[in-house]
Subunit: 103 residues, 2 copies
């Protein structure tokens, strides 16, 4: 069980897609931010502002990143998403993730 | 937007009911623990070990606490659950909550 110490946790959840995708925001002392989230099975398109590193903590999904073909990823794979882009996901099993935002 | 500062956040989610109920654990410097969670619409029964104070951050639900009748609660209501007990919930709309465990 991994832990993040000395962080600030935002109390309220981020809720998307009728609650099928939710996350909690963590703020770190170096000014960076991560979100810890859950995606339930379904198909979603997400847009990014900052670049993201998405670490899968549980689950299996298909992903289509900008300019790439669909591919299947299983935990514990990690994928990178460029800033100001969008990507498509087909979540096959409940996916727990840690998203790091890159400034 | 409320925040909890100087906490330790467990990276991995707690996942119940096929992901329809999930939470994240926060550990505080005084040794206490809270979980921040999401409950999607559905009917659930939960058991407690420690007593809990459940603060609703969003959503509407019906609840049956031990020895009580069903009642409807709306955000921002709070309810208390005794230690070593169980309670029933009918979640009507996506419910974001903060659960404090009382030792």
């Amino acid at each position: 069980m991994s832990k993040f110490e000395n962080v600030t946790a935002v109390k309220e959840a981020n809720i998307y897609h009728n609650g099928n995708v939710t996350s909690r925001t963590l703020e770190f002392s170096d000014g960076t931010t991560k979100s810890l989230g859950i995606m339930l099975p379904g198909e979603y398109t997400f847009g990014t502002n900052e670049a993201e590193i998405m670490e899968m903590l549980s689950g299996e999904l298909d992903i289509k990143l900008p300019g790439e073909d669909w591919k299947t990823l299983n935990t514990p794979e990690t994928f990178n998403v460029p800033a100001n882009s969008s990507f498509d996901l087909k979540i096959k099993t409940v996916t727990d993730y840690c998203c790091s935002y890159i400034k």
